[in-house]
Protein backbone atom coordinates (compact mmCIF):
# COMPACT_ATOMS: atom_id res chain seq x y z
CA UNK A 1 0.00 0.00 0.00
CA UNK A 2 1.10 3.53 -0.72
CA UNK A 3 1.83 5.69 2.31
CA UNK A 4 -1.06 7.98 1.40
CA UNK A 5 -3.48 5.06 1.11
CA UNK A 6 -2.26 3.67 4.42
CA UNK A 7 -2.94 7.00 6.05
CA UNK A 8 -6.44 7.22 4.61
CA UNK A 9 -7.18 3.67 5.81
CA UNK A 10 -5.86 4.62 9.26
CA UNK A 11 -8.09 7.72 9.41
CA UNK A 12 -11.04 5.55 8.45
CA UNK A 13 -10.21 2.91 11.06
CA UNK A 14 -9.71 5.52 13.77
CA UNK A 15 -13.12 7.08 13.06
CA UNK A 16 -14.92 3.72 12.84
CA UNK A 17 -13.31 2.37 16.03
CA UNK A 18 -14.02 5.63 17.85
CA UNK A 19 -17.70 5.45 16.93
CA UNK A 20 -17.90 1.74 17.83
CA UNK A 21 -16.25 2.52 21.17
CA UNK A 22 -18.68 5.34 21.95
CA UNK A 23 -21.71 3.24 20.95
CA UNK A 24 -20.55 0.27 23.07
CA UNK A 25 -19.88 2.44 26.12
CA UNK A 26 -23.13 4.40 25.75
CA UNK A 27 -25.54 1.65 24.73
CA UNK A 28 -24.05 -1.50 26.23
CA UNK A 29 -22.62 -0.73 29.66
CA UNK A 30 -21.68 -3.61 31.96
CA UNK A 31 -24.96 -4.88 33.37
CA UNK A 32 -25.31 -5.05 37.11
CA UNK A 33 -27.37 -8.17 37.79
CA UNK A 34 -30.51 -7.90 39.88
CA UNK A 35 -29.06 -10.30 42.40
CA UNK A 36 -25.35 -9.74 43.04
CA UNK A 37 -22.93 -12.44 41.86
CA UNK A 38 -19.90 -11.40 43.87
CA UNK A 39 -19.42 -8.35 46.09
CA UNK A 40 -16.11 -6.72 46.94
CA UNK A 41 -16.31 -5.27 50.44
CA UNK A 42 -13.72 -2.54 50.94
CA UNK A 43 -11.94 -2.56 54.27
CA UNK A 44 -8.78 -1.05 55.68
CA UNK A 45 -7.85 -4.49 56.99
CA UNK A 46 -7.94 -5.81 53.43
CA UNK A 47 -10.75 -6.18 50.91
CA UNK A 48 -13.11 -9.14 51.05
CA UNK A 49 -14.45 -10.85 47.95
CA UNK A 50 -17.81 -12.29 48.95
CA UNK A 51 -19.40 -14.82 46.60
CA UNK A 52 -23.07 -13.92 47.00
CA UNK A 53 -24.22 -16.37 44.35
CA UNK A 54 -22.54 -19.39 45.99
CA UNK A 55 -24.03 -18.46 49.37
CA UNK A 56 -27.55 -17.76 48.11
CA UNK A 57 -28.14 -20.21 45.26
CA UNK A 58 -29.67 -23.64 45.71
CA UNK A 59 -26.70 -25.21 43.92
CA UNK A 60 -24.43 -23.48 46.44
CA UNK A 61 -25.08 -23.22 50.18
CA UNK A 62 -28.76 -22.37 49.69
CA UNK A 63 -28.89 -19.80 52.48
CA UNK A 64 -32.26 -18.04 52.53
CA UNK A 65 -32.42 -14.27 51.89
CA UNK A 66 -33.85 -13.54 55.34
CA UNK A 67 -31.02 -15.40 57.10
CA UNK A 68 -28.72 -12.46 56.34
CA UNK A 69 -31.05 -9.68 55.18
CA UNK A 70 -32.88 -9.66 58.53
CA UNK A 71 -35.08 -6.67 57.72
CA UNK A 72 -36.88 -8.58 54.98
CA UNK A 73 -40.55 -9.25 55.64
CA UNK A 74 -40.83 -12.00 53.02
CA UNK A 75 -38.53 -13.71 50.50
CA UNK A 76 -39.98 -11.94 47.43
CA UNK A 77 -39.21 -8.45 48.68
CA UNK A 78 -36.12 -6.63 47.41
CA UNK A 79 -33.53 -6.78 50.21
CA UNK A 80 -31.74 -3.74 51.56
CA UNK A 81 -27.96 -3.73 51.11
CA UNK A 82 -26.13 -4.29 54.42
CA UNK A 83 -24.27 -0.99 54.18
CA UNK A 84 -27.53 0.98 54.00
CA UNK A 85 -28.01 0.64 57.76
CA UNK A 86 -24.67 -0.67 59.01
CA UNK A 87 -22.42 2.28 58.34
CA UNK A 88 -18.63 2.17 58.54
CA UNK A 89 -18.24 4.53 61.49
CA UNK A 90 -21.65 4.55 63.11
CA UNK A 91 -22.33 2.31 66.12
CA UNK A 92 -26.08 2.75 65.61
CA UNK A 93 -27.45 0.15 64.96
CA UNK A 94 -24.19 -1.85 64.70
CA UNK A 95 -21.18 -0.66 62.77
CA UNK A 96 -20.47 -2.38 59.49
CA UNK A 97 -17.38 -4.33 60.51
CA UNK A 98 -19.04 -5.71 63.66
CA UNK A 99 -22.17 -6.66 61.74
CA UNK A 100 -20.18 -8.55 59.14
CA UNK A 101 -17.89 -10.23 61.65
CA UNK A 102 -20.87 -11.43 63.68
CA UNK A 103 -22.78 -12.54 60.60
CA UNK A 104 -20.03 -14.18 58.55
CA UNK A 105 -17.74 -15.53 61.24
CA UNK A 106 -20.70 -16.56 63.41
CA UNK A 107 -22.28 -18.59 60.64
CA UNK A 108 -18.97 -20.15 59.60
CA UNK A 109 -18.34 -21.22 63.20
CA UNK A 110 -21.87 -22.50 63.75
CA UNK A 111 -21.85 -24.50 60.54
CA UNK A 112 -18.27 -25.62 60.94
CA UNK A 113 -17.66 -24.49 57.36
CA UNK A 114 -16.06 -21.49 55.77
CA UNK A 115 -13.07 -19.46 56.87
CA UNK A 116 -12.76 -17.88 60.31
CA UNK A 117 -9.17 -16.64 60.20
CA UNK A 118 -8.72 -12.94 59.36
CA UNK A 119 -6.41 -13.51 56.39
CA UNK A 120 -8.73 -16.09 54.84
CA UNK A 121 -11.25 -13.34 54.04
CA UNK A 122 -9.28 -10.09 54.23
CA UNK A 123 -6.92 -9.85 51.31
CA UNK A 124 -4.44 -7.02 51.08
Amino acid sequence: MEVKTERIVAYGLAIVFFLVGIVCYAAFPVKTPEEPIRIMFKSTAGNILFDHKVHASESGYGIGCTDCHHTLEDEGEAPTACGECHEVDSEDPVKRSDAFHTQCQGCHEDEGAGPVDCSACHVR
Binding site: A14, Y25, F28, I39
Partner: protein, 322 residues
Protein backbone atom coordinates in the same frame (compact mmCIF):
# COMPACT_ATOMS: atom_id res chain seq x y z
CA UNK B 1 38.04 -21.74 7.57
CA UNK B 2 39.34 -19.31 4.94
CA UNK B 3 36.87 -20.61 2.37
CA UNK B 4 33.84 -20.06 4.60
CA UNK B 5 31.46 -17.48 3.16
CA UNK B 6 30.75 -15.06 5.98
CA UNK B 7 28.91 -12.39 4.07
CA UNK B 8 27.46 -12.59 0.60
CA UNK B 9 26.64 -9.31 -1.04
CA UNK B 10 25.79 -8.13 -4.49
CA UNK B 11 25.81 -4.89 -6.42
CA UNK B 12 22.99 -2.41 -6.73
CA UNK B 13 20.22 -2.10 -7.81
CA UNK B 14 18.45 -3.74 -4.92
CA UNK B 15 14.89 -4.96 -4.77
CA UNK B 16 12.79 -4.10 -1.74
CA UNK B 17 11.27 -7.24 -0.31
CA UNK B 18 7.96 -5.50 0.24
CA UNK B 19 8.01 -5.56 4.03
CA UNK B 20 6.71 -2.48 5.80
CA UNK B 21 5.91 -1.24 9.28
CA UNK B 22 2.23 -1.23 8.42
CA UNK B 23 2.45 -4.85 7.23
CA UNK B 24 4.05 -5.78 10.52
CA UNK B 25 1.40 -3.89 12.49
CA UNK B 26 -1.41 -5.64 10.64
CA UNK B 27 0.31 -8.99 11.30
CA UNK B 28 0.36 -8.16 15.02
CA UNK B 29 -3.33 -7.31 14.93
CA UNK B 30 -4.09 -10.53 13.07
CA UNK B 31 -2.03 -12.54 15.57
CA UNK B 32 -3.86 -10.96 18.48
CA UNK B 33 -7.25 -11.66 16.93
CA UNK B 34 -7.91 -15.15 18.44
CA UNK B 35 -7.35 -13.86 21.98
CA UNK B 36 -9.30 -10.68 21.28
CA UNK B 37 -12.28 -12.56 19.82
CA UNK B 38 -12.33 -14.83 22.86
CA UNK B 39 -12.31 -11.74 25.11
CA UNK B 40 -15.27 -10.23 23.25
CA UNK B 41 -17.08 -13.59 23.32
CA UNK B 42 -16.60 -13.90 27.07
CA UNK B 43 -17.17 -10.33 28.20
CA UNK B 44 -19.48 -9.12 25.45
CA UNK B 45 -19.86 -5.68 23.95
CA UNK B 46 -18.28 -3.80 26.89
CA UNK B 47 -15.00 -5.55 25.95
CA UNK B 48 -15.45 -4.49 22.32
CA UNK B 49 -16.00 -0.94 23.56
CA UNK B 50 -12.72 -0.94 25.48
CA UNK B 51 -10.81 -2.39 22.51
CA UNK B 52 -12.33 -0.03 19.93
CA UNK B 53 -11.95 3.07 22.05
CA UNK B 54 -8.38 2.19 22.98
CA UNK B 55 -7.27 1.61 19.38
CA UNK B 56 -8.94 4.80 18.14
CA UNK B 57 -7.71 6.95 21.05
CA UNK B 58 -4.13 5.72 20.59
CA UNK B 59 -4.32 6.71 16.92
CA UNK B 60 -5.86 10.08 17.77
CA UNK B 61 -3.15 10.84 20.38
CA UNK B 62 -0.49 9.94 17.82
CA UNK B 63 -2.11 12.19 15.23
CA UNK B 64 -2.40 15.09 17.68
CA UNK B 65 1.23 14.70 18.72
CA UNK B 66 2.36 14.58 15.07
CA UNK B 67 0.41 17.78 14.39
CA UNK B 68 1.71 19.49 17.54
CA UNK B 69 5.31 18.55 16.75
CA UNK B 70 4.85 19.38 13.06
CA UNK B 71 6.03 15.98 12.02
CA UNK B 72 4.70 13.80 9.21
CA UNK B 73 1.48 12.04 10.20
CA UNK B 74 2.53 8.53 11.24
CA UNK B 75 -0.72 6.80 12.13
CA UNK B 76 -0.69 5.04 8.75
CA UNK B 77 2.03 2.67 9.94
CA UNK B 78 -0.42 1.09 12.39
CA UNK B 79 2.02 1.15 15.30
CA UNK B 80 -0.23 3.38 17.40
CA UNK B 81 -3.17 1.07 16.71
CA UNK B 82 -1.11 -1.93 17.89
CA UNK B 83 -0.12 -0.09 21.08
CA UNK B 84 -3.79 0.75 21.69
CA UNK B 85 -4.82 -2.84 20.99
CA UNK B 86 -2.24 -4.36 23.34
CA UNK B 87 -3.11 -1.84 26.04
CA UNK B 88 -6.81 -2.75 25.78
CA UNK B 89 -6.02 -6.47 25.87
CA UNK B 90 -4.40 -5.99 29.27
CA UNK B 91 -7.41 -4.13 30.69
CA UNK B 92 -10.49 -5.68 32.29
CA UNK B 93 -13.65 -5.42 30.20
CA UNK B 94 -15.11 -3.03 32.75
CA UNK B 95 -12.45 -0.33 32.34
CA UNK B 96 -14.19 3.07 32.23
CA UNK B 97 -13.80 5.24 29.13
CA UNK B 98 -11.67 7.87 30.88
CA UNK B 99 -9.21 5.20 31.97
CA UNK B 100 -8.81 4.14 28.34
CA UNK B 101 -8.36 7.75 27.19
CA UNK B 102 -5.82 8.48 29.96
CA UNK B 103 -4.01 5.17 29.43
CA UNK B 104 -3.62 5.62 25.69
CA UNK B 105 -2.37 9.16 26.31
CA UNK B 106 0.34 7.77 28.60
CA UNK B 107 1.18 4.96 26.17
CA UNK B 108 1.49 7.13 23.07
CA UNK B 109 2.76 10.43 24.43
CA UNK B 110 4.82 9.42 27.45
CA UNK B 111 5.64 5.88 26.36
CA UNK B 112 6.54 6.58 22.76
CA UNK B 113 6.35 10.07 21.27
CA UNK B 114 8.44 12.05 23.75
CA UNK B 115 11.38 9.76 23.00
CA UNK B 116 11.12 10.53 19.30
CA UNK B 117 8.43 8.19 18.03
CA UNK B 118 8.59 4.68 16.65
CA UNK B 119 11.83 2.83 17.27
CA UNK B 120 13.09 5.26 19.90
CA UNK B 121 11.08 4.20 22.94
CA UNK B 122 13.16 2.55 25.67
CA UNK B 123 10.09 0.94 27.27
CA UNK B 124 7.14 -0.93 25.87
CA UNK B 125 4.54 1.90 25.55
CA UNK B 126 1.54 -0.29 26.42
CA UNK B 127 3.28 -1.45 29.58
CA UNK B 128 4.22 2.08 30.64
CA UNK B 129 0.52 2.91 30.48
CA UNK B 130 -0.59 -0.21 32.34
CA UNK B 131 2.06 0.34 35.04
CA UNK B 132 0.91 3.91 35.61
CA UNK B 133 -2.73 2.82 35.75
CA UNK B 134 -1.89 -0.04 38.13
CA UNK B 135 -0.26 2.45 40.48
CA UNK B 136 -2.74 5.30 40.05
CA UNK B 137 -6.11 3.54 39.86
CA UNK B 138 -5.40 0.24 41.55
CA UNK B 139 -8.98 -0.87 42.05
CA UNK B 140 -9.78 -0.66 38.31
CA UNK B 141 -6.94 -3.08 37.62
CA UNK B 142 -7.97 -5.50 40.35
CA UNK B 143 -9.62 -8.19 38.25
CA UNK B 144 -11.52 -9.60 41.24
CA UNK B 145 -13.14 -6.25 41.84
CA UNK B 146 -13.56 -5.27 38.22
CA UNK B 147 -15.33 -8.48 37.20
CA UNK B 148 -17.71 -8.94 40.16
CA UNK B 149 -20.73 -8.76 37.88
CA UNK B 150 -19.56 -11.50 35.53
CA UNK B 151 -20.42 -15.15 35.96
CA UNK B 152 -18.90 -17.07 33.09
CA UNK B 153 -19.45 -20.54 34.47
CA UNK B 154 -15.97 -21.15 35.84
CA UNK B 155 -14.06 -20.12 38.98
CA UNK B 156 -13.95 -16.36 38.57
CA UNK B 157 -11.33 -15.42 41.17
CA UNK B 158 -8.22 -14.09 39.43
CA UNK B 159 -5.89 -17.13 39.51
CA UNK B 160 -2.70 -15.32 40.53
CA UNK B 161 -4.48 -13.45 43.30
CA UNK B 162 -6.10 -16.66 44.56
CA UNK B 163 -2.76 -18.47 44.80
CA UNK B 164 -0.92 -15.51 46.28
CA UNK B 165 -3.43 -15.06 49.08
CA UNK B 166 -4.72 -18.55 49.69
CA UNK B 167 -1.89 -20.84 48.64
CA UNK B 168 -2.01 -23.82 46.34
CA UNK B 169 -5.15 -25.26 47.95
CA UNK B 170 -7.14 -23.21 45.41
CA UNK B 171 -5.49 -24.96 42.48
CA UNK B 172 -8.22 -27.62 42.56
CA UNK B 173 -10.55 -24.95 41.14
CA UNK B 174 -8.46 -24.65 37.98
CA UNK B 175 -7.56 -27.15 35.28
CA UNK B 176 -4.57 -26.57 33.05
CA UNK B 177 -6.70 -27.29 29.97
CA UNK B 178 -9.29 -24.80 31.19
CA UNK B 179 -6.64 -22.14 31.73
CA UNK B 180 -5.26 -22.78 28.24
CA UNK B 181 -8.74 -22.40 26.78
CA UNK B 182 -9.45 -19.13 28.55
CA UNK B 183 -11.44 -20.31 31.55
CA UNK B 184 -9.97 -17.76 33.93
CA UNK B 185 -10.64 -14.19 34.99
CA UNK B 186 -8.27 -11.60 33.61
CA UNK B 187 -7.70 -8.98 30.95
CA UNK B 188 -9.76 -8.92 27.75
CA UNK B 189 -7.04 -10.45 25.63
CA UNK B 190 -4.82 -12.18 28.14
CA UNK B 191 -6.79 -15.22 29.24
CA UNK B 192 -7.02 -17.34 26.08
CA UNK B 193 -3.62 -19.04 26.27
CA UNK B 194 -4.07 -21.18 23.18
CA UNK B 195 -4.99 -18.16 21.06
CA UNK B 196 -1.96 -16.23 22.30
CA UNK B 197 0.34 -19.17 21.55
CA UNK B 198 -1.09 -19.55 18.04
CA UNK B 199 -0.73 -15.79 17.48
CA UNK B 200 2.82 -15.87 18.85
CA UNK B 201 3.84 -18.78 16.62
CA UNK B 202 2.40 -16.96 13.62
CA UNK B 203 4.50 -13.89 14.45
CA UNK B 204 7.61 -16.03 14.94
CA UNK B 205 7.07 -17.81 11.62
CA UNK B 206 6.54 -14.50 9.84
CA UNK B 207 9.78 -13.25 11.40
CA UNK B 208 8.12 -10.35 13.24
CA UNK B 209 9.21 -11.43 16.70
CA UNK B 210 12.21 -13.42 17.88
CA UNK B 211 11.71 -16.90 19.26
CA UNK B 212 14.79 -16.49 21.46
CA UNK B 213 13.04 -13.86 23.61
CA UNK B 214 9.73 -15.72 23.90
CA UNK B 215 11.30 -19.07 24.63
CA UNK B 216 13.83 -17.80 27.15
CA UNK B 217 11.07 -15.84 28.94
CA UNK B 218 8.86 -18.92 29.22
CA UNK B 219 11.85 -20.99 30.36
CA UNK B 220 12.75 -18.29 32.89
CA UNK B 221 9.21 -18.38 34.29
CA UNK B 222 9.16 -22.18 34.28
CA UNK B 223 12.50 -22.73 36.00
CA UNK B 224 11.99 -20.03 38.64
CA UNK B 225 8.45 -21.18 39.42
CA UNK B 226 9.68 -24.78 39.56
CA UNK B 227 12.26 -23.98 42.23
CA UNK B 228 9.73 -21.97 44.25
CA UNK B 229 7.26 -24.82 43.92
CA UNK B 230 9.65 -27.53 45.12
CA UNK B 231 10.77 -25.27 47.97
CA UNK B 232 7.20 -24.89 49.28
CA UNK B 233 4.48 -26.71 47.31
CA UNK B 234 1.72 -25.46 49.65
CA UNK B 235 2.50 -21.82 49.02
CA UNK B 236 3.90 -21.51 45.51
CA UNK B 237 2.08 -22.61 42.37
CA UNK B 238 3.63 -25.05 39.88
CA UNK B 239 5.43 -23.69 36.80
CA UNK B 240 2.76 -24.47 34.22
CA UNK B 241 0.20 -22.53 36.25
CA UNK B 242 2.45 -19.46 36.15
CA UNK B 243 2.87 -19.80 32.40
CA UNK B 244 -0.86 -20.10 31.70
CA UNK B 245 -2.11 -17.36 34.01
CA UNK B 246 -1.82 -13.60 34.32
CA UNK B 247 0.06 -11.72 31.62
CA UNK B 248 2.64 -14.50 31.01
CA UNK B 249 1.70 -15.57 27.50
CA UNK B 250 0.83 -12.13 26.15
CA UNK B 251 4.13 -10.95 27.64
CA UNK B 252 6.10 -13.75 26.02
CA UNK B 253 4.80 -13.16 22.51
CA UNK B 254 3.45 -9.61 22.30
CA UNK B 255 4.98 -7.38 24.98
CA UNK B 256 8.51 -8.53 25.66
CA UNK B 257 9.30 -8.85 21.96
CA UNK B 258 8.57 -5.20 21.15
CA UNK B 259 11.25 -4.01 18.72
CA UNK B 260 12.87 -0.95 20.15
CA UNK B 261 12.83 -2.02 23.79
CA UNK B 262 14.35 -5.49 23.25
CA UNK B 263 17.88 -6.57 22.33
CA UNK B 264 18.93 -7.62 18.84
CA UNK B 265 21.73 -10.11 19.42
CA UNK B 266 21.39 -13.77 20.28
CA UNK B 267 22.95 -13.96 23.75
CA UNK B 268 21.42 -10.65 24.94
CA UNK B 269 17.99 -11.86 23.79
CA UNK B 270 18.33 -15.03 25.82
CA UNK B 271 19.47 -13.12 28.93
CA UNK B 272 16.75 -10.51 28.44
CA UNK B 273 13.96 -13.08 28.22
CA UNK B 274 15.25 -15.27 31.03
CA UNK B 275 15.72 -12.35 33.43
CA UNK B 276 12.21 -11.08 32.63
CA UNK B 277 10.80 -14.53 33.38
CA UNK B 278 12.79 -14.79 36.58
CA UNK B 279 11.66 -11.34 37.77
CA UNK B 280 8.04 -12.03 36.83
CA UNK B 281 7.83 -15.06 39.12
CA UNK B 282 9.90 -13.36 41.81
CA UNK B 283 7.47 -10.42 41.97
CA UNK B 284 4.47 -12.76 41.84
CA UNK B 285 5.70 -15.01 44.61
CA UNK B 286 7.45 -12.68 47.01
CA UNK B 287 6.70 -9.21 45.69
CA UNK B 288 3.90 -6.78 46.47
CA UNK B 289 2.07 -7.19 43.17
CA UNK B 290 -0.18 -10.05 42.15
CA UNK B 291 1.22 -10.19 38.61
CA UNK B 292 4.87 -9.32 38.18
CA UNK B 293 5.02 -9.37 34.37
CA UNK B 294 4.45 -5.63 33.89
CA UNK B 295 7.22 -4.41 36.19
CA UNK B 296 9.54 -7.28 35.29
CA UNK B 297 9.39 -6.32 31.62
CA UNK B 298 9.83 -2.62 32.32
CA UNK B 299 12.89 -3.48 34.41
CA UNK B 300 14.49 -5.57 31.69
CA UNK B 301 13.59 -2.87 29.16
CA UNK B 302 15.96 -0.64 31.17
CA UNK B 303 18.72 -3.21 30.89
CA UNK B 304 18.27 -3.54 27.13
CA UNK B 305 21.00 -1.05 26.02
CA UNK B 306 23.42 -2.64 28.47
CA UNK B 307 22.62 -6.16 27.26
CA UNK B 308 23.16 -5.12 23.67
CA UNK B 309 26.77 -4.33 24.57
CA UNK B 310 27.31 -8.08 24.42
CA UNK B 311 28.04 -8.17 20.74
CA UNK B 312 28.99 -11.01 18.44
CA UNK B 313 32.59 -11.10 17.35
CA UNK B 314 33.13 -8.71 14.46
CA UNK B 315 33.79 -10.36 11.14
CA UNK B 316 37.42 -10.46 10.15
CA UNK B 317 38.53 -10.02 13.73
CA UNK B 318 38.73 -13.73 14.46
CA UNK B 319 41.89 -14.92 16.12
CA UNK B 320 43.29 -17.29 13.62
CA UNK B 321 46.59 -18.87 14.47
CA UNK B 322 48.95 -19.35 11.61
Amino acid sequence: MHNQKLLVSSHAPYWHNGSSISGKSYSFMLAALPAVIMGIYQYGLPALGVLALSISCAMIWELLMDLAMRRPVSIGDGNAAVIGLLFAMLLPATAPWWLVVAGTFVAIIIGKQIYGGIGCNPFNPSLVAIAIIMLSWKSFMDFNEALVNYDLGFYMVYPLSAVKHMGTSVLSNFSMTGLLLGQQAGGIGTTFGLGLIIGGLYLILRGHIRWEISLSFLLGVFVTAYFFNIADPDKYAPPLFHILTGYSLIAAFFLLTEDSSSPVNFVPMLIYGAVAGFLTVLIRNIGAFVDGAVFAILLVNVSNPLLDKIRPKAMGKGTEHA
